[in-house]
Symmetry: C2
Subunit: 297 residues, 2 copies
């Protein structure tokens, strides 16, 4: 029996400590931008993406520490996407995880720049030779390419564009799948895949873990939609029922709560099935997948 | 005698053709983001940054074609910074180079995302193995790091933050130098430096060209301020006297037009002096530097 909550807590501490070490201190000039970056990075995220990268690396036999720069870069990318999503011109959200959103604290101009800064910093962090004491991994440049691709117009940004286009529109399942697999799925998949590649996994391991990542990314996003409908506002730390107000494209809206949850479970099962080639090494990732659909926030 | 106008025209064609080849076509789904990216990339820029990268590569004996992916990435980065600068929350500009700004055509949400997309694409472009038919240069990862650093919070974004902070404030020369050397200077310097590094320049060449880049970056920005005061609105393709309306920190505001132009000329001279170690190989860059302060738009 794996103590999944304990594991998550330990990995989160590792990630938090590394993020704080990597990010420039707030005292730097001009301090407002460093404050704004740290504000959102340390606003209570679960660190799912970096933890998945660490867990995938461990599954293929590497140490979590070996992938920390990339894992933390993925969290910076996630945070940038949230800051920009929350802007008045996009989702116009005042709260996230119980805290004021970046632009409510630092103003819209600084929030735009803080998002830009975190995206830029992610690439700086990954390619900074000082963070690779054992030498820069031979696969790193190719990985940077894959990450840029996953978060660009054929990945995360593409999903975001279509999500915005589809507000107040009738959406079919094909479009909804596009939004979910791109807006959320692409970054979660590349997080798992990054850990597998950097950890030195075999091509078969990398493919298995990439498929696992794609499936749990889908499950995670469906559950996000579900929790927006039936979640506890207190636990979630943000206003709920916002998807409905905006008539956002969601699984519950298209097929109801019960069928949505069934699809999330099916995706988790598919993810776990994909882990089969890893045998015992996949147990923890399998538990992580279960955890994703049992979460209440 | 170098035909500098002919040279600029030829290099601009090379860059434009490469940008069009590299950027995804507008037909891709979701097309609005690809349209928005191409709209601003092909809105009449002079391609100064990529041309400087090509010229620096040629100065150290390489072919312009060898540095095209990085040169075009630098132009994508420049374009992203313009799109975000023009947003209502920042400079709130309706026109640039005689065309409507990105958010006036595609809406604010798409403009934010198009900027994000061009920044992301720059990293994808540089690290895409298909663009390096002779193999990925050994120095590329370190160069990607240097570029990320130059356009981040210790470079371009830092300058942008302070520029916004200083509107309607008294600014001293030290702060103004910070803004200029970071907001504009850092990207121009790294453009020259990138060409020198990728072109295989010696350490002495790279240092000389980096100093040249820093100096002409300063000259370029001072002239930008000067042209905002005394330029021809028709030629510039945008509303002028905007710096004054906003009480922006500029050289003319701090020390008048004549002294500003003198400082720009001094920076160009310093840039040309820095080229000394290159001897004859520096002639074209020297002409380019002169061209920067003689421009009227």
């Amino acid at each position: 029996m794996v103590d999944i909550e304990g594991y998550l807590q330990a990995q989160k501490s590792l990630v938090d400590e590394a993020l704080s070490r990597y990010l420039p201190p707030e005292e730097h000039y001009p301090s407002v931008i460093f404050q704004a970056m740290r504000y959102s990075v340390f606003a209570g995220g679960k660190r799912l993406r970096p933890i998945l990268a660490l867990a995938a690396a461990e599954a293929v036999g590497a140490a979590a520490e070996d992938v920390l720069p990339v894992a933390c870069a993925l969290e910076c990318i996630h945070t940038y996407s949230l800051i920009h999503d929350d802007l008045p011109a996009l989702d116009n959200d005042d709260f996230r995880r119980g805290n004021l959103t970046n632009h409510k604290v630092f103003g819209e101009a600084n929030a735009i720049l803080a998002g830009d800064a975190l995206l830029t910093f992610a690439f700086e962090l990954m390619t900074d030779a000082r963070h690779w004491p054992d030498g820069i991994p031979a696969c790193l440049l190719q990985l940077v390419y894959e990450i840029a691709y996953a978060i660009g117009t054929f990945g995360m940004i593409g999903g975001q564009v279509v999500d915005l286009q589809m507000e107040r529109q009738e959406v079919d399942l094909r479009t909804l799948r596009y939004i979910h697999s791109h807006k959320t799925g692409a970054l979660i998949r590349i997080s798992v895949r990054s850990g597998a590649i950097l950890g030195g996994g075999s091509p078969a391991d990398v493919e298995a873990l990439s498929e696992y990542g794609a499936q749990i990314g889908l499950a995670f996003q469906i559950m996000d939609d579900v929790l927006d409908v039936r979640g506890d506002e207190q636990l979630m730390g943000k206003g709920l029922r916002k998807d409905e107000d905006r008539q956002k494209a969601t699984y519950p809206r298209l097929m109801g709560l019960a069928e949505s949850e069934a699809r999330a479970r099916a995706a988790v099962e598919a993810g776990i099935t994909a882990l089969a080639p890893l045998g015992e090494r996949g147990v923890l990732l399998s538990e992580l997948a279960q955890f994703i659909i049992s979460r209440e926030s």
